[in-house]
């Protein structure tokens, strides 16, 4: 993955939902290896911003581009280069933990079985690999979601309250995954209320300017 010159550029982004303007005039640039934390009160549009970046919502104005990616049309490819970790865990209760992860790895871009085993070990779900996901607790399901970020390599991580439902050791592990990802030249945009353990991330305050 060649990411040295990559930049995630957000240009005067605005979003409307149901006729109401959620945010407007959001500008930022994130370079490879950088993390940005989006903060703000409830309803300030943190989740909406992440969904716009992920291509799950349409921007009313402005655009998000990922530049510098070798051999790909920039704007269209951003959702394909991004992992979105939302509030929902996209785990099917009747499939086993391994089946769930294998499917997403195959669907989002094949990585092969070793990647899946290492990802499951990294989030300490390897002992539960053959258990249907219905038996998992909220925190375990969240860890299964995080395993997806590890099993499929994508440069941009869009994390919406990534630490929710996680206990302290799991949060620490998530922090180390994020550091590794940044060290490998990845991007992180995280919406959060509290600290997520990264040292000196850039901060974008939503709703502060009105």
């Amino acid at each position: 993955m060649k990411t040295d010159r990559m930049q995630l550029i957000c240009d005067s982004l605005a979003c409307e939902r149901g006729g109401r303007q959620v945010f407007a005039g959001v500008n930022f640039t994130v370079s490879a290896g950088e993390a940005m934390v989006v903060t703000g009160r409830n309803g300030a549009g943190k989740s909406t911003l992440l969904r716009v970046i992920a291509g799950l919502l349409r921007a009313a104005q402005g655009q998000v581009t990922l530049t510098g990616l070798a051999g790909a049309a920039d704007e269209a490819s951003l959702p394909e280069q991004a992992h979105y970790l939302g509030h929902l865990d996209a785990a099917k209760p009747s499939l086993t933990v391994r089946e769930n992860l294998t499917f997403w790895a195959d669907f989002l871009g094949a990585s092969g079985d070793p990647a899946i085993d290492t990802a499951l070990e990294a989030v300490e779900l390897d002992t539960l690999a053959d258990l249907p996901a219905a038996y998992l607790s909220a925190g375990q399901k969240r860890r299964l979601s995080i395993a997806r970020l590890l099993a499929v390599k994508r440069p941009v991580w869009l994390l919406d309250e990534p630490t929710s439902a996680l206990d302290a050791p799991s949060q620490a592990r998530l922090t180390s995954f994020m550091c590794e990802h940044l060290a490998g030249g990845g991007f992180i945009v995280a919406a959060t209320h509290g600290p997520i353990g990264l040292d000196a991330p850039r901060e974008l305050r939503m709703g502060a300017a009105g």
């Binding site: 779900l125 002992t127 539960l128 258990l131 249907p132 219905a134 038996y135 998992l136 607790s137």
Partner: protein, 241 residues
């Protein structure tokens, strides 16, 4: 039935392991004897050799009804006495009852074709069995779609009781419906009083089928108990991980 005494699933498992081989052996012996008697049973003077289908058809019809009866009693066990094995009994009986109802319908239409000239008539008797089959399928569908066995247990018990109340009503209404629109082409099968040379093989086959039902039912109950054990152990596994 011994189900009432066996409140403890572990004791049931132990007993099932001890009883099942013997029960299976007895079933096989009675079946062999029954089939031998069937092979040498005389032909019916009206229906010829096709009367041999009756030795499958009548016992499976009897089991189709007994299956639902067993589910009804077990359903009372679930709802009234909260017996831990009652729901296991209902769930294990459903596919077996459905299979025997299916055998009854298939053999019936294979018997009907040479006798009546058609595989299926909307005759009151056939139609009631068809409705019973649909009820069994509904019961199976209920168990397929529910992932929580405890919630499925109550719903299935209620369905079993409602079915038990409804089957006589359905039978009655179908009889009445059929007399209004009696199709002319159907030959009624009011055979002569049954001769002992046919009655004895029929009774032996009925006994064999009943034994088979209970063998399968106990084995299926054992599977279901193990399945629930797996479920609770998996929950412990997830909680401890």
């Amino acid at each position: 039935m011994a189900l009432i005494d066996l409140a403890n699933p572990t004791r049931f498992l132990a007993l099932a392991s001890r009883v099942l081989p013997w029960l299976a052996a007895v079933t096989a012996i009675v079946f062999a004897y029954g089939l031998y008697r069937v092979a040498y049973a005389p032909d019916d003077y009206q229906q010829g050799a096709t009367v041999k289908i009756m030795f499958l058809h009548v016992p499976s019809a009897w089991l189709a009804m007994m299956g639902w009866g067993l589910m009804t009693v077990a359903a009372l066990g679930t709802l009234v006495w909260r017996h831990p094995l009652a729901d296991v009994a209902v769930k294990a009986a459903a596919p077996i009852g459905a299979a025997f109802t299916f055998i009854c319908l298939v053999t019936g239409s294979l018997w009907g074709r040479p006798m009546w000239g058609t595989y299926w008539v909307w005759d009151a008797r056939l139609t009631s069995v068809l409705v019973l089959f649909l009820l069994y399928l509904g019961m199976l569908a209920l168990y397929w779609t529910a992932d929580d066995p405890n919630r499925a247990a109550r719903a299935a018990a209620i369905l079993a009781l409602v079915g038990a109340v409804n089957i006589p009503i359905i039978k009655f209404s179908v009889d009445w419906w059929n007399t209004l629109h009696q199709p002319a082409s159907v030959v009624r099968m009011d055979g002569p009083a049954i001769d002992p040379t046919i009655l004895v093989p029929l009774l032996v086959m009925a006994l064999a089928f009943t034994l088979l039902f209970f063998t399968l039912h106990i084995a299926a109950m054992r599977n279901e108990i193990l399945r629930r054990r797996v479920r609770s152990m998996r929950m412990m596994q997830a909680a401890n991980a």
